[in-house]
Symmetry: D2
Subunit: 355 residues, 4 copies
Amino acid sequence: MYAFVKKKRDVGADIAMVDTPEIEKEEVLVKVKAASICGTDVEVWNWNQWAQSRVKNLPLILGHELAGEIVEVGAEVTTLQEGDMVSAETHIVDGTCYQCRTDRMHICQNMEILGVDRDGVFAEYVKLPERNAWKNHPDLDPAIASLQEPLGNAVQSVLPKDHIEDVAGKNIAVLGCGPIGLMTIAVLKTIGAAKIFATAGGRNKVRMELAKKVGADMVLNAREEGQNLVKIVRQATDGKGVDVALEMSGAASAVRQAFNMLTPGGRVSLLGILDKPLKLDLNNAVVFRAATVYGIHGRRMFQTWYQAKGLLSKPHFRSKIASIITHRLPIKDLAKGMELINSKQAAKVLLQPNW
Amino acid sequence: MYAFVKKKRDVGADIAMVDTPEIEKEEVLVKVKAASICGTDVEVWNWNQWAQSRVKNLPLILGHELAGEIVEVGAEVTTLQEGDMVSAETHIVDGTCYQCRTDRMHICQNMEILGVDRDGVFAEYVKLPERNAWKNHPDLDPAIASLQEPLGNAVQSVLPKDHIEDVAGKNIAVLGCGPIGLMTIAVLKTIGAAKIFATAGGRNKVRMELAKKVGADMVLNAREEGQNLVKIVRQATDGKGVDVALEMSGAASAVRQAFNMLTPGGRVSLLGILDKPLKLDLNNAVVFRAATVYGIHGRRMFQTWYQAKGLLSKPHFRSKIASIITHRLPIKDLAKGMELINSKQAAKVLLQPNW
Amino acid sequence: MYAFVKKKRDVGADIAMVDTPEIEKEEVLVKVKAASICGTDVEVWNWNQWAQSRVKNLPLILGHELAGEIVEVGAEVTTLQEGDMVSAETHIVDGTCYQCRTDRMHICQNMEILGVDRDGVFAEYVKLPERNAWKNHPDLDPAIASLQEPLGNAVQSVLPKDHIEDVAGKNIAVLGCGPIGLMTIAVLKTIGAAKIFATAGGRNKVRMELAKKVGADMVLNAREEGQNLVKIVRQATDGKGVDVALEMSGAASAVRQAFNMLTPGGRVSLLGILDKPLKLDLNNAVVFRAATVYGIHGRRMFQTWYQAKGLLSKPHFRSKIASIITHRLPIKDLAKGMELINSKQAAKVLLQPNW
Amino acid sequence: MYAFVKKKRDVGADIAMVDTPEIEKEEVLVKVKAASICGTDVEVWNWNQWAQSRVKNLPLILGHELAGEIVEVGAEVTTLQEGDMVSAETHIVDGTCYQCRTDRMHICQNMEILGVDRDGVFAEYVKLPERNAWKNHPDLDPAIASLQEPLGNAVQSVLPKDHIEDVAGKNIAVLGCGPIGLMTIAVLKTIGAAKIFATAGGRNKVRMELAKKVGADMVLNAREEGQNLVKIVRQATDGKGVDVALEMSGAASAVRQAFNMLTPGGRVSLLGILDKPLKLDLNNAVVFRAATVYGIHGRRMFQTWYQAKGLLSKPHFRSKIASIITHRLPIKDLAKGMELINSKQAAKVLLQPNW
């Protein structure tokens, strides 16, 4: 089959012909109908510092967001069958470690990630453990189905635990308008946040416009507003600050702003990955503010999938999520997709199985 | 001033001229701009069994839902001033009991309720402790402002604690389509529930139509469906049952249905007041189902008010809430309002200060 | 091998020679080193109404609480090996239903229970899915190891969710002094409850003495105190009532008392199984009291096991749990053990593998 | 009356004769029976950088931890009377801000702190708002009663919210063995933590011995262990790391260790105040670890007081708390108490009203 394979510890990846995966008895083989590019894929493609230290074994087929059709099921698979349309939970877990046995499977201590630790989905076929194949409604557009995995991150950022301070009627800030930031805004709009503030670095105008479109009440350009950004948010919340701040940019300045604009006793989710250690005034950011901070990694398996499914049952939410796809390319043009993202022209890039 | 005063331990109440209340130094005097009829008012008016045992002292001015304007402030009031538009939190609490000192002020052990334990709002003026006067945006329609108090009950039913299993993307049933049930549907629709099932006794067609209008995906007539009702809900949820069931009718059959349609591990809120003890199969309803049950009484002071305010900042939500007002009457026609409710022709009846 | 097999839909069971179980590749074979009698076993033995409707298939080997040694492991077992000492999580789950995939595996919709739905542990050997074999420290006394399963119920009753109102420094009532009630008292004593009230039916003096011994500050005889019982608890809590009430008796009167002695806003766990539907004044029990009620069934898998393990690492707690074992019998005398329990002379009866 | 008054923006404070406070109608006058020195008092005494920026107005009577007897009550005080023994909740709040009206009074936005923003307790008398005077059992030793305020911080650190992952049977680390760290260890021991790890800077041997005495299973000298400290904790927890880490030292290295020794999905409380911004690898500390972080400031009013009261009802817990008092001095020797703390010879210093 065709696949995008990274063979050298360097930038990029090439189309190659490789063997179609052979499935184990608890796995399924999925024919890729749609795939999408995640920020992580860009990092692995760009072979940045994080990727160099994180990716252990090459050659590696890239990619992890997909929608596809099951074409073969292992002998012991009980819940899926040929013809089922599925998306992938991309965290392959052991099911037996302390975290897995205490309802925290998404941070399994022996986790492998598709397209990072094992072969991914930028290929004609991919094999998945039965547990990781999430069955979709047959009518769900594969483009949207593929986006469910990052949508799960958005849900996890907003609702990181089963028992959580609800966002209904609260003022919320989303710092960073990448695809997950945008999906988060769409989620917040759909679940009753009062005012939604979005901040963006300012270079990617496409994303700022989308932020408005999917539900932000106010979109702030961090580059232009600088020191005023926090003040503007405070003024727009009667001086109280936001109840919840969701950091999705990985920018040091955004992390600091997230805390500065937070009402005392509020909560912060940290999803963005920083490029280096952060200098932070913990006293004022967290201690005196009595803030609660949640680290966000992955998606609870599978609460977030059920919640995403519930939200996607609403046409207006589906259309918000669809609008985040700014480009649809044949998968053979993956390099172009990477370029669109690197040059800040895209929000989400969808790949169609055209080799 | 004019007021509706119940003077005898019997049905009804009469318009009377009484002294305008004199405020204490920590109180405010409010000129009533709008009032609305709650189910409790109907019970006190009808002088049913509950009212006979609950109401201690007559004469009593009825009513507790209102919006009004502050016309006088006590000497020690610091957060309000003349001209402020306010609604009433109707639970007057002591602030010093165990419940009040552990964030459960809404179930204060020495609580007095407007129109039940002390003079209420079906009058030209009413006095309120500063703490109980919730300041509204000056532009908020008094009709909607008056409905904030029962809206708080709806919010409390959906989100009974600060930390709670969120409803986003979940399937939810609302059993009972009285005004609070209808508001609850509107809240659920606005905060991202997946499917919303509403059940109604079946006699009040107005309310069933409103249930659809404010957001129910399916409105079931309990009278007609009978034993099938639970089955229908189960089928519409892929056999899982609902994640959350909100009992707002006070009907014994509805309480049983709430549990029967609940997915194991789900949660139930009980707001409806039953007219007698209930015979319930606790084993299957609660124990084996590992259900969580929340008793709903009042509204957390004042988290639910802030949340209601946040939701009411959205025009589409305000319009849903407004649509629940089926009748607007001069307050002097209170008896007619009671009749409209007793004869199942109304959802919410709003009273305008026309004596 | 020897085993206690119920062959007829009638009282009792007989020792029989049956085939040693053959394990599947994901199972382990366990040689029973200790077993203990649960209330459920008594019901199945006595063949009461619940058992008649619940038990589907005979013949059936009884029993589910055990400690044993692994003597054979299936080909795909990865976390256990021969010689490991294990106890059994007795709920065999599918791992794929809605409940299992949303962190509620203990209420799996396709659950089978050892000794009820499939062959149990009152035998020389029993087979278990790898997932259900909880590895013990090799030095843990098998007698105590066998009690971990009901101890998990006790932990689940006290801490039914991951996020829960803590019991530290709170006043708590345990209604019912059966083995799980006694273990619950031991747990509460060890995790910092302020005052612990225990109530018992009054016929089983052994259990009442044990309640005191394992930590109850006050043990009340429900038979003798009658209507005064609630009053006594209220007086001993400065009129406030208890913060948490744990119903572990299955007596209708105890369920009512649990609510009556509860402080408004407090929480109740219901573990006891009632012999028929209960007539309950829901208004005053739950609604006006703003009570939270948790149905308790099984034990969260496997948070409660880790917590039980942590508590059992403390010698004083182990000794409390050990003290609940009032009788140690050779397993061949199972009928005598049943008799001891039925005649209210025992707390926990431990069975040693002596055929 | 006599009082320790800081008159100049410089080190120390002097005994002075000042007017006995005159109470308002909602206040009480308390005769000091015992006071104790908090780390904050040391900072204000030492006039370090934090104190210089934080303390606005001089002259100022220092101190905030006390036990005393009410000698006068204001006209509108309803819950207290002359002769009552009380301790002080030292956060004087407005009761009307967003935080106060949403169950977060302890982080009121207009808070004043005794001995920092208004006259404190190192005096013969102090006045308190009725709300802030916590009534003690008349038999409670004033020495222990005075320690309830920091004990509340310990409770808040362990249980920062009403709904929280319980510590029962969990492995916990306390980083820092100052008085609050020591009290935290005592709390953890009393509420069922499995293994308790304490770390200390290593200079104050008195505190390290006390850590062991009040319940730590392992006391680690951070100075000596250095890089090994985290490894030791991991080894002692089967490689899992601790479930909860409580940072109570304010040392940058301890904050980093707290995260490094945390099991993924675990929680951290930050109480210690750092002397400057911290450089932290947020990715690995919080994000990938899916950690939850709680900023701890003050004590929930008044849940933590009720919990502390419940715990103090146990003699063994009282004796643990009492053991933390290493020195009892006449209050006139306050300077000596400060010296004992600054020279690392003391844990808690108690002051007796001997002028």
